[in-house]
C-alpha cells in the first residue's frame, strides 16, 4: 500500500509547467450543452424506433393493491403492453445477487401488491407514442386496500431510535459540562424535506443487441447501475452495457437507479424494440429520493470569554419504512469546534414516506442550518463578534479523534472573508440599518465538508496524430468532469487541450466510482494522473528504444513532454511523429489510484466562510439577498471556472434552504404538497444580488497526489445559516423553522412591533 508521503513528490499536475491546472478553462462539453445537442439518456437515438413507457404511481401511502383492471388501458390506441405486479416479467427478489461481487443487487419493479409510499410505481404502460402511453396510463384502474399511513414526522419523534449500527458520540461529560457552563444556549431548529429537482428528470432508454442489454440512463455512478440492472434482469453483468454520457444534474438524487431503467430494459426485451421511460416532473417528487426533514437540538455551553465548554448537536430524521438512510446532520460538528465536553448523535424514525436519500452535502447542508445559527446566537449572548467566537474555538487538532489536520485554513477563510466583505461595517445590534424600504443586515457562517478518495481506474491512449484519449467509467453531472480530466491529461502529456478527447459514462470503460460526496475530481483525477504517468513512461521507452528516434539510447527517465513534443535536452520529435512511426496503431495504457494506507492518520476536510447581506422588507417579511461572498479552502483548484461555479451553485442552494425550499407532507395522504417547479420553489436569479466565491491558495498533499479536494458540496455547507443570521441582524427576528418564508418572519416582525 502506498503512503501519503509518496504523494509529496512532484508530478506534472503539481508542477503545472504549462499552467493548464487551475486555469478557468471553458467546459469541454459546454457548446453541446448550451446548444441542446448533448443528448440526455431520453434523447439518445436508438438503432430502431423506440416505444414509449409511462409509469403509474400509487395514490395511497400504505396498503396493498386489491384489484387490477387494465382492460381499458390495453384497449387504448397504440398500446403495446400494460404491466402491474400481476403480469410483469419475473425478476429475482430484491437484493439478490447472482454475482457475489456485484456492487448492487436486484431491484425488481412492480415487485408485489404492497404499496409502501405514495407515488410508488405500481403500473407501467408502453405504447407507440408518448401521448398514447400517457393517455393509456390514465386508464389503468387499480383498487387499493389502504392502511392509515404513518407519515407525520413531527408527531413521531418519540418513536425514533438509533440508526442501525450507530451510537451517540460523547467526549468528556456533556451534561455535567453544560450544567457547569456560565453561558448557555439550548434551541431547536427544524428543516423540511427537500427534493432534488434536477433539470433533467430520471430517464432511461434500453434495447437489446442479441443477449446484451444496451441502456442509456441518467446516473451518477456507472458500475452499481450496471450491476444492479444485470441482477434485476437475471443476466451476466457483462451482458449489460450501460451508458450515461451527458447528465442534467444529479445532486445525489441519481446515485441510484429507479424503475425507469428496469422497466425500459424489461419492456425492450419483451417487445423486441427499444423502449424509453422518463419520470415526469410530478413523479420525480415521490418516485425518487429526497432529503428528509430534520429536527435538530443544539446545546452550547461557554465561559464568559466565549470558549466552548460543552457542545451538543442531536438530530432527529426519518426514512422509508424499509430503509436505513440517515441524514447525518450532526457528523460535521465533530470536526468543527473545540470543546472538552461533546455529544452528537442521530435518531431515525421509519415512516410510510418515499425513500430518503443523499442530497448535495448530505448532513452538512442540514446541520449547519442549526449549529451555525446557534453560534451566532451565542456570540450575541457573549457580546462577541461571530467571527471572533469561531476563531476562539478553533481546535489545534481534530477535536474528537486527535488527528492532525492535513490542511485547515478555516480561520483564514473567516478573516479574509470578513475583510473582503466589509464585515467591520456590521452593527452588532440588530435592526439598525435601513435602505429605503429595506432593513439591512449582515450574517456569516463557517463551512466544512469532508473530503474523500476512492479507488479508480482510467486509461489513456495516444494515436498517430498525437491525440490523447482519456477513457474512464466516470460521470459528469454538470460539474466539469470532462473538462478537468482534459486538463489533467493535457498537462500530464504536455499537449494542448485541443489534442485531448475525453470519453466517460460507459460501463465498458475502466471503472471509477462516479460523482458524489464531492469525491469525483480527486478520485477520477488521481486515476487519470496515474494513467497519464504510465503513458509518459510508455512513450519515453518507445522513443528511447526506437533507433529511428532522435531520443534513441537516452535515459527514458529524462524525457520531457511539452507542446506536443517529446524531448531530452535539444533532441526532440513530436508525439505524433513518434507514435505514427513506432506505434502506428496507437498506444493504450491503464492506470489506477487508491487511498493511501495512512490517509486516515489525518483529519482531511474542506473549509469556508460565508458572508451575506440581506434586505428584509418589514412590511411583508420578504427577504432578498443583496450580496454574498464565500471564501473557501479546498486544496489545489483544477479549474477556477468550474470550481467557482460549483461553489456559487452550492451557495445558492444554501440561500434556497434558508428562504425558499421545502416540501410539506399531507398527513392524510402521505403525499408531498409541491409536485412541480411552480409549487416547489428554488431560488431564482431575482432573489440573489452580487454573489462571489473566492478560493484560497492551498495544496493538501495528504488528500491525493494532486493536492486537490472537492468543492461540489462545500458551498452548500453553512450558506443558509449565513442568510438566517443576516436576517436576524437586519430585523432582530430569529426563525428556527426553515425555510424562513414571509408568513413566519412577519409573525416575528409584528411581535417586535415592527
Amino acid at each position: 500500500m502506498s503512503s501519503v508521503h509518496d504523494w509529496a513528490a512532484p508530478n506534472p499536475v503539481t508542477t503545472n509547467r504549462s499552467g493548464l491546472i487551475g486555469k478557468p478553462v471553458d467546459r469541454y462539453e459546454g457548446p453541446l450543452k448550451v446548444t441542446g445537442t448533448a443528448p440526455y439518456a431520453y434523447e439518445v437515438q436508438p438503432p430502431s424506433p423506440p416505444a414509449y413507457g409511462v409509469m403509474v404511481g400509487a395514490t395511497i401511502a400504505a396498503g396493498r393493491i386489491a384489484d387490477v383492471d387494465i382492460a381499458a388501458a390495453e384497449a387504448s390506441p397504440g398500446v403495446l403492453a400494460v404491466w402491474t405486479h400481476r403480469n410483469v416479467p419475473s425478476q429475482p427478489p430484491r437484493g439478490a445477487k447472482a454475482h457475489p461481487r456485484s456492487t448492487a443487487g436486484s431491484s425488481p419493479a412492480l415487485e408485489n401488491d404492497r404499496v409502501s409510499y405514495f407515488g410508488q410505481p405500481v403500473a407501467f404502460v408502453v405504447a407507440d407514442t408518448l401521448e398514447n402511453a400517457v393517455a393509456a396510463s390514465m386508464l389503468v384502474n387499480l383498487t387499493y386496500e389502504a392502511d392509515a399511513p404513518d407519515v407525520d414526522f413531527a408527531a413521531s419523534l418519540d418513536a425514533a431510535g438509533q440508526p442501525p449500527g450507530e451510537q451517540d458520540v460523547e467526549i468528556g461529560n456533556f451534561e455535567d459540562g453544560f450544567a457547569a457552563s456560565g453561558v448557555k444556549l439550548d434551541e431547536t431548529w427544524t428543516t423540511p424535506i427537500q427534493n432534488h429537482c434536477q433539470m433533467e428528470p430520471c430517464a432511461s432508454i434500453a434495447w437489446w443487441e442479441g443477449d446484451v442489454c444496451v441502456a442509456h440512463t441518467s446516473i451518477q455512478m456507472v458500475k452499481p447501475a450496471q450491476h444492479g440492472l444485470a441482477e434485476t434482469l437475471g443476466i451476466d453483468r457483462d451482458a449489460v452495457h450501460l451508458m450515461t454520457r451527458y447528465i442534467g444534474g444529479g445532486f445525489g438524487g441519481k446515485g441510484q437507479t429507479y424503475d425507469d431503467l428496469t422497466l425500459a430494459a424489461l419492456a425492450a426485451r419483451a417487445l423486441k424494440q427499444p423502449v424509453k421511460v422518463a419520470f415526469t416532473r410530478q413523479q420525480m417528487m415521490h418516485g425518487t429520493i429526497h432529503r428528509p426533514a430534520t429536527v435538530q437540538r443544539v446545546r452550547l455551553g461557554a465561559d464568559k470569554d466565549g470558549r466552548l465548554n460543552a457542545f451538543s448537536l442531536m438530530t432527529w430524521t426519518h426514512c422509508h419504512r424499509s430503509g436505513s438512510f440517515t441524514e447525518h446532520a450532526s457528523n460535521f460538528a465533530r470536526a468543527l469546534y473545540a470543546a472538552p465536553n461533546r455529544l452528537t448523535g442521530h435518531r431515525l424514525v421509519r415512516l410510510d414516506l418515499p425513500h430518503a436519500g443523499p442530497m448535495r452535502a448530505p448532513g452538512e447542508a442540514s446541520g449547519t442550518l442549526s449549529l451555525e445559527c446557534a453560534m451566532d446566537e451565542l456570540a450575541e449572548q457573549l457580546g462577541l463578534d461571530p467571527v471572533d467566537l469561531r476563531i476562539r474555538n478553533e481546535p489545534p487538532v481534530d477535536p474528537e479523534n486527535g488527528r492532525p489536520f492535513s490542511q485547515r485554513q478555516l480561520v483564514r477563510c473567516l478573516r479574509e472573508g470578513a475583510q473582503l466583505f466589509g464585515w467591520e461595517r456590521r452593527t452588532a445590534k440588530p435592526g439598525q440599518v435601513r435602505d429605503g424600504r429595506w432593513l439591512v443586515g449582515m450574517g456569516m457562517a463557517a463551512a466544512i465538508r469532508g473530503n474523500f478518495l476512492l479507488p479508480a481506474k482510467c486509461s489513456f491512449s495516444v494515436d498517430a496524430e498525437g491525440v490523447i484519449t482519456v477513457r474512464q467509467g466516470m460521470t459528469d453531472i454538470g460539474t466539469g468532469t470532462y473538462t478537468v480530466l482534459a486538463q489533467i491529461a493535457a498537462e500530464t502529456l504536455g499537449v494542448p487541450l485541443g489534442k485531448v478527447v475525453v470519453e466517460i459514462g460507459d460501463s465498458e470503460l475502466p471503472p471509477a466510482p462516479g460523482s458524489g460526496g464531492q469525491f469525483g475530481a480527486a478520485t477520477a483525477g488521481s486515476a487519470a494522473l496515474a494513467a497519464g504517468m504510465n503513458l509518459r513512461k510508455a512513450l519515453a521507452e518507445l522513443a528511447t528504444g526506437d533507433p529511428r528516434s532522435p531520443l534513441y539510447g537516452d535515459d527514458p527517465e529524462l524525457v520531457t513532454f511539452q507542446d506536443g513534443v517529446i524531448a531530452i535536452e535539444n533532441k526532440s520529435e513530436t508525439l505524433a511523429a513518434l507514435v505514427a512511426r513506432a506505434a502506428p496503431e496507437g498506444l493504450t495504457v491503464e492506470g489506477d489510484s487508491r487511498p493511501a494506507a495512512d490517509m486516515r492518520e489525518w483529519s482531511t476536510q474542506t473549509y469556508g466562510g460565508h458572508f451575506c447581506e440581506v434586505g428584509v422588507d418589514p412590511v411583508t417579511g420578504e427577504v432578498r439577498v443583496r450580496r454574498m461572498l464565500g471564501v473557501f479552502a479546498a486544496g489545489r483548484i483544477l479549474n477556477a471556472k468550474t470550481a467557482k461555479s460549483q461553489l456559487t451553485g452550492g451557495m445558492i442552494w444554501g440561500i434556497a434552504s434558508a428562504l425558499h425550499e421545502g416540501n410539506a407532507v399531507d398527513p392524510r395522504h402521505g403525499s408531498l404538497l409541491a409536485q412541480d417547479l411552480a409549487q416547489y420553489l428554488v431560488t431564482v436569479q431575482a432573489d440573489v444580488g452580487e454573489l462571489d466565491a473566492i478560493m484560497l491558495d492551498e495544496v493538501d498533499d495528504k488528500a491525493n497526489p494532486m493536492g486537490i479536494k472537492g468543492v461540489g458540496e462545500l458551498g452548500n455547507s453553512g450558506a443558509g445559516a449565513a442568510v438566517a443570521n443576516a436576517i436576524y441582524n437586519a430585523c432582530g427576528v430569529r426563525v428556527r423553522d426553515y425555510p424562513i418564508t414571509p408568513d413566519k418572519l412577519l409573525a416575528g416582525l409584528i411581535a417586535k412591533g415592527l
Binding site: 395514490t59 390506441p77 405514495f118 401521448e131 400517457v134 393517455a135 390514465m138 410530478q282 424600504r437 422588507d617 412590511v619 411583508t620 417579511g621 420578504e622 432578498r624 428562504l659 425558499h660 410539506a664 399531507d666 398527513p667 392524510r668 395522504h669 403525499s671 404538497l673 409541491a674 409536485q675 412541480d676 411552480a678 409549487q679 420553489l681 431560488t683 431564482v684 436569479q685 431575482a686 432573489d687 418564508t741 414571509p742 408568513d743 412577519l746 409573525a747 409584528i750
Partner: protein, 321 residues
C-alpha cells in the same frame, strides 16, 4: 394527455362558431396554462380552436381617452407599451410581477384573465377537487396550505385566483368586451367577470360557453398615483400571498379570494378619513381564517398602507415632474 383535434381560427366570429358547434371544444391562445392542465388531464378538451392569430392583438387609444387592449395582446406587449407604462403603470407593474419572461411572451390578455387557480390540490389528480369534478369534495379545506382564500371562500372551495394583471385591471375599473355565441358583442365591468366559488367552484367566470373575450377597455386613468405591490415567497415566478393595486382612490386585492377583489369597503372608509389599517379592518371584517393563511390579514393590511403611501409619493413625484 387525451387526443384532441385542432383548428386555427381566422376570425373571431368563426372561432366562436367553431367552439359552439364542436362538442368539447375550447379556445386556446398562449396555452401557457391550458396545455399544462391537459397534460395532467385536468382539462380534457376534445377540440381546440386556436385564437392566438386573430387580429385582435392591437392596443388602441379610445375616443374617451382610454385604451382598448386586444385580447390577444401578449402580456409582454401590454406591459411594455409606452402608453400603458406612462398612464397605467399599475398595470405594467402587475404584469411583470407575474409568471416569467418566457411565459409572458406567450400569455395573452384574454388568457391571463381565464387562467386557473394554482391550488396544489387542483393539480394533484389523486385528491378530490370540486373544480375538477363537481361534487367530489375539496382536499384543500382540511389540508395545510397557505395559498388559500380568506375572502369569499365557500365550503366547496378555498382556491384563489392567481392573476396579477387582473388585480390591476380591477383597480383601473377596466371593462371586458366579448363576442357571444350568438354573435353579439357585449361589454361589462371586469369586476363582474369572475365568480366567487359558492357551491359551483368549477364555474369561474360569468362568460357563457363559447363566449370569447375580444378586448379589455381601460377608461382614462384616474387622478392620483398608481402602484402595485405583491408579497410572495421568492422574487420571481411565484404567486402572491397578497397583492395590492392602487389606482387613484381605488384599491384591488390579489391572492385573497377566488377572484380579484375590489376593496370597496376600504375605499369608502379611506374616503371617510379612516387610516389604511382601519380601512382594511373594515374590508377584512368577514375574513374566514385558517391557521395557515391567517398571516394574510396583517400582510394585506400592511401592504395596503405601504402601497397607498407609495402611490401618493408617486403621484407627488409626477406632479413635480
Amino acid at each position: 394527455m387525451k387526443a384532441f383535434t385542432y383548428e386555427r381560427a381566422s376570425d373571431a366570429r368563426g372561432a366562436v362558431e367553431a367552439v359552439v358547434n364542436t362538442p368539447g371544444a375550447r379556445f386556446i391562445a398562449g396555452g401557457t396554462n391550458l396545455l399544462d392542465l391537459m397534460k395532467l388531464e385536468i382539462e380534457q378538451p376534445q377540440h381546440l380552436v386556436d385564437v392566438s392569430r386573430l387580429p385582435i392583438a392591437g392596443i388602441e387609444d379610445t375616443d374617451e381617452g382610454g385604451l382598448r387592449i386586444g385580447a390577444m395582446a401578449t402580456n409582454t406587449r401590454v406591459a411594455s407599451d409606452s402608453r400603458v407604462r406612462a398612464r397605467y403603470r399599475v398595470l405594467s407593474q402587475a404584469i411583470v410581477s407575474g409568471a416569467s419572461g418566457q411565459l409572458r411572451n406567450k400569455a395573452t390578455t384574454g388568457g391571463n384573465l381565464l387562467q386557473r387557480t394554482r391550488c396544489p390540490y387542483f393539480y394533484d389528480t389523486s385528491k378530490p377537487c370540486n373544480k375538477r369534478r363537481p361534487g367530489d369534495g375539496c382536499a384543500a379545506i382540511a389540508g395545510h396550505i397557505r395559498e388559500s382564500a380568506i375572502l369569499g371562500a365557500s365550503t366547496a372551495c378555498i382556491a384563489v385566483h392567481p392573476s396579477d394583471m387582473a388585480v390591476a385591471l380591477v383597480a383601473l375599473d377596466a371593462e371586458v368586451e366579448t363576442l357571444s355565441p350568438a354573435g353579439h358583442a357585449r361589454r361589462f365591468p371586469l369586476m363582474e367577470l369572475h365568480r366567487l366559488p359558492g357551491d359551483t367552484p368549477h364555474l369561474e367566470t360569468h362568460l357563457i360557453p363559447g363566449e370569447l373575450i375580444t378586448a379589455v377597455v381601460l377608461p382614462p386613468p384616474p387622478p392620483g398615483g398608481q402602484q402595485y405591490r405583491k408579497a410572495r415567497d421568492r422574487a420571481s415566478y411565484a404567486t402572491a400571498h397578497a397583492s395590492v393595486a392602487i389606482a387613484g382612490g381605488r384599491i384591488a386585492l390579489g391572492g385573497l379570494a377566488h377572484k380579484p377583489w375590489r376593496a370597496v369597503d376600504a375605499e369608502a372608509a379611506l374616503a371617510d378619513g379612516a387610516s389604511p389599517a382601519e380601512a382594511m379592518a373594515r374590508e377584512l371584517k368577514d375574513a374566514a381564517l385558517r391557521d395557515e393563511n391567517a398571516f394574510k390579514v396583517p400582510l394585506a393590511t400592511r401592504l395596503v398602507a405601504a402601497t397607498i403611501a407609495e402611490a401618493q409619493a408617486q403621484a407627488g413625484a409626477g406632479r413635480d415632474a
